[in-house]
C-alpha cells in the first residue's frame, strides 16, 4: 500500500484514536437517524395514500423493507470487516464486525416478524414459504452461526478471525442462496399459491408519495446502525485491549 494510504488506515484504525473520534460521529448519526425515522413514519403512516389492492395494510413495508435491506447490508459489512481484519490484521475491524453481528441478526428478526404480520392479512397465514422470506430465514441462521462461532473460543482473537472467515464464505453464499430459493419457488409456483403478496406489490409502488418515506426510513435505519455499531465497537475494542494504558484512561480507572 502506498505510504499515505497505509498511514491513513493505521492512524484511523488505531484503537485510542477510534475511541476518541467515534463518540461525536456516533452522536451525529443518532440525531440524524431519530429525525429521519420520525419523518419517514409520518410520511409512511400518515401522508402516503392507501394501496388500491391492500388498503392500509401495505404500510408495514415501511418497517419490513428497510430492515430487510439492513439485514443484507450488515452481513456484507461483516464480510468486509472480516476481510480487512484478516488481511491487514486490524483489530478494530474485528471489533466492528462483532459489534455489527447482533444488530444484523436483530434486523433479520424484525424482517421475519413484520413479513409474517404482513402475510397474515394478505394471505391468511402467518408464514408463507415465499422466496424472500425463506432466504431471510436462512440469512438469520447464517447470522446465528457467525455469532455462535465468534463466542465459542476463549481467545477472543481466534473467535474474531474464525467468525470472519465464516462471514466471508457466508457472504459469497448469500446471493447463491437467494437465487436457489427463487428457483425453488418458481418450481413450486403452481402447487402452493398464485403470485405472492410481496413481489406484486413492490413493482407497482410507483407513486412517489409512497416511495420517499421508504427511502427516508432506510436512511434513518442506516444512521441508527451507524450510531449503534460505533457505540458497541467502542466497548468491543475495550474488551480486546484490556491491559493497555489508553483503555484504563478511557475508562477512568485509577
Amino acid at each position: 500500500m502506498s505510504g499515505r494510504w497505509s498511514r491513513w488506515i493505521h492512524r484511523w484504525a488505531s484503537p485510542p484514536y477510534f475511541y476518541r473520534v467515534s463518540r461525536p460521529w456516533g452522536r451525529a448519526f443518532a440525531v440524524v437517524s431519530f429525525v429521519a425515522i420520525a419523518i419517514g413514519l409520518y410520511g409512511g403512516l400518515w401522508l402516503a395514500p392507501p394501496d388500491f389492492q391492500q388498503g392500509n395494510g401495505f404500510r408495514i413495508i415501511y418497517m419490513h423493507v428497510p430492515s430487510a435491506w439492513m439485514s443484507l447490508f450488515i452481513f456484507v459489512f461483516l464480510a468486509v470487516c472480516g476481510l480487512i481484519g484478516l488481511i491487514w490484521r486490524i483489530k478494530l475491524a474485528h471489533a466492528m464486525a462483532s459489534a455489527a453481528a447482533p444488530i444484523g441478526a436483530a434486523f433479520t428478526a424484525i424482517t421475519l416478524v413484520t413479513g409474517s404480520l404482513w402475510a397474515k392479512p394478505m394471505w391468511g397465514t402467518f408464514w408463507v414459504w415465499d422466496a424472500r422470506l425463506t432466504s431471510e430465514l436462512i440469512l438469520f441462521f447464517l447470522y446465528l452461526g457467525v455469532i455462535a462461532l465468534s463466542r465459542s473460543f476463549e481467545n477472543p482473537q481466534t473467535g474474531d478471525r474464525a467468525a470472519a472467515i465464516l462471514a466471508i464464505v457466508g457472504a459469497v453464499d448469500v446471493p447463491i442462496i437467494h437465487y436457489s430459493v427463487d428457483w425453488w419457488q418458481t418450481l413450486h409456483q403452481g402447487s402452493i399459491f398464485r403470485g405472492n403478496p410481496f413481489d406484486g406489490h413492490l413493482h407497482t409502488t410507483v407513486a412517489p408519495s409512497m416511495l420517499w418515506p421508504l427511502l427516508v426510513m432506510w436512511l434513518g435505519f442506516m444512521c441508527y446502525f451507524g450510531a449503534l455499531v460505533l457505540w458497541r465497537a467502542r466497548s468491543e475494542i475495550l474488551l480486546r485491549q484490556l491491559d493497555t494504558d489508553w483503555a484504563r484512561e478511557a475508562v477512568g480507572a485509577p
Binding site: L41, N56, R59, V113, L117, L238, A253
Partner: protein
C-alpha cells in the same frame, strides 16, 4: 387521512401496529444491550487492571 382511520389503519390495525411495535421494541432492545455491553467492558478493564497489578 383522519385520526380514526389512522388508528384503525383501515381495519389492519391488528397487523400494522404490532409490526411497528415489534420493530421498535427490538431496536430499543439493541440500545439496552449496547449499554449493558459498555458496562461489562468498563468493569472488565477495571478488573484487568486490578489482577494485572497483583501479578507484576
Amino acid at each position: 387521512m383522519t385520526w380514526s382511520t389512522f388508528w384503525s389503519m383501515g381495519g389492519f390495525a391488528l397487523y400494522v401496529w404490532p409490526a411497528f411495535g415489534f420493530g421498535f421494541l427490538v431496536m430499543v432492545g439493541n440500545l439496552v444491550a449496547a449499554v449493558r455491553l459498555e458496562k461489562r467492558a468498563r468493569r472488565e478493564v477495571r478488573e484487568a487492571r486490578e489482577t494485572h497489578d497483583l501479578e507484576s
